[in-house]
Symmetry: C2
Amino acid sequence: MEIIKTIVDFRKVRLSLTEPVGLVPTMGYLHEGHMSLIRQAKMDNSSVVVSIFVNPMQFGADEDLDRYPRNMERDLSQLQKEGVDAVFVPSTAEMYPIHFSSRVEVDNITQRLEGASRPEHFRGVTTVIAKLFNIIQPTRAYFGQKDIQQAIVICKMVADLNMNLIIITLPTVREPDGLALSSRNSYLNRRERKAARVLYQSLMLAKKLWQEGERDAKTLHWEMVRLIRKEPLAAIDYISIADTKTLMEREEVKLPTLVSLAVKIGKTRLIDNVILE
Amino acid sequence: MEIIKTIVDFRKVRLSLTEPVGLVPTMGYLHEGHMSLIRQAKMDNSSVVVSIFVNPMQFGADEDLDRYPRNMERDLSQLQKEGVDAVFVPSTAEMYPIHFSSRVEVDNITQRLEGASRPEHFRGVTTVIAKLFNIIQPTRAYFGQKDIQQAIVICKMVADLNMNLIIITLPTVREPDGLALSSRNSYLNRRERKAARVLYQSLMLAKKLWQEGERDAKTLHWEMVRLIRKEPLAAIDYISIADTKTLMEREEVKLPTLVSLAVKIGKTRLIDNVILE
């Protein structure tokens, strides 16, 4: 497994990778969610590249960039075991040299949900992902459904800017009690970890109500709010019942509908979603 | 010579082009300036692609999009003669389908000179050029020095976003009296055409003063203004004496310095520049 720190070195290694090439972009601190992406990438492609880069541009000034969990040694040993061909681990200075002043923006869908709470977040995501695509030149790139808006925004960027690759989104991997795997789960203490189940529980409640025939988005919304408010450690950031493409809020639940939410458990902000389809 | 109208078709043709591939992006109405780019591209590469697309996104609402000169038949016959391998001539709907909502932005240097007069111009340029690079995937792309800020902005975008190609900028091709070739010269009537010589004359005046030892940017500036004001059909939009990289205005003329200007001759806005080096 090649471990590559610079763009110049990656371009050389890239020439030796057999096509097609799958890319799994990550911020490290890998969990089974990442592993499911890597395993699918291995099945679909002749070579697999994983990038590990905690991207400062997608963190707000008051967000958790500094305390975002990192464990490069463990990550690399896991990737080695999975048979990954190359790992790209650039420094911040390598990705954002002095006088860096370009960006890729997707309008409209980036303003809703996560974008409403984190106004410059997706600009950071699209810019770094465009850079990674240009450096790594993958045939396919893999993203998890947990960050569904990110996947939708990236698909829009790829389509609008005619980037020549395929985006694949894979299902969220969950703990036995339903909590979506996330590197940020490591922030949770024991009480918070237990409280965090309420995200998935509220999504399952919405799904159940819908299956029982409820079509009013407001009703789903308020039933989710009611459930989450029973959990004293939880504070709702948003709950959204929206069109899966435009991310515009729905009044009536038609298929497919994205039910998504962001909830603070103590100081930790968690997100999750299900698609009704 | 293949003439290709859709992105899907171009992707197919691209597979048959031998590497390296040179791209000359144009808005059509081709002149000897374009031809000099194409001839250099032919010398440097095994295949040459020319794109012809009058990009609405880089025109302001009150600019000359509708009257921008077009002559597709003549353009294609010229390209055929030059031995171009493929011409990409997409429609506006092909490049900007409904709900298109992405853009590539370069900050800072896009705010000066042309960007000060045409605030959304470079966003249109960088977005369409990023799209063309992703569709055509050239090894090298060729731009003329006449639009020097465009070339500088594109180089910055390519560097910042790690686009995997080489940008080549070639000298401005001029009429015998010095007027830089431009598709917009076709707007000029006989009197205006004569008046338009003042752009190059003022640049040559600045160069001469510099060669004679003048190092004060303000003096160069005002001597240029004085000369241009003698031409009753000319109205200065800007004159700039700036750093060639940052495009920040200089007080003292150090090498290299970019002397550039935009002047309206009647209703036609023309630009030109020289580099003192």
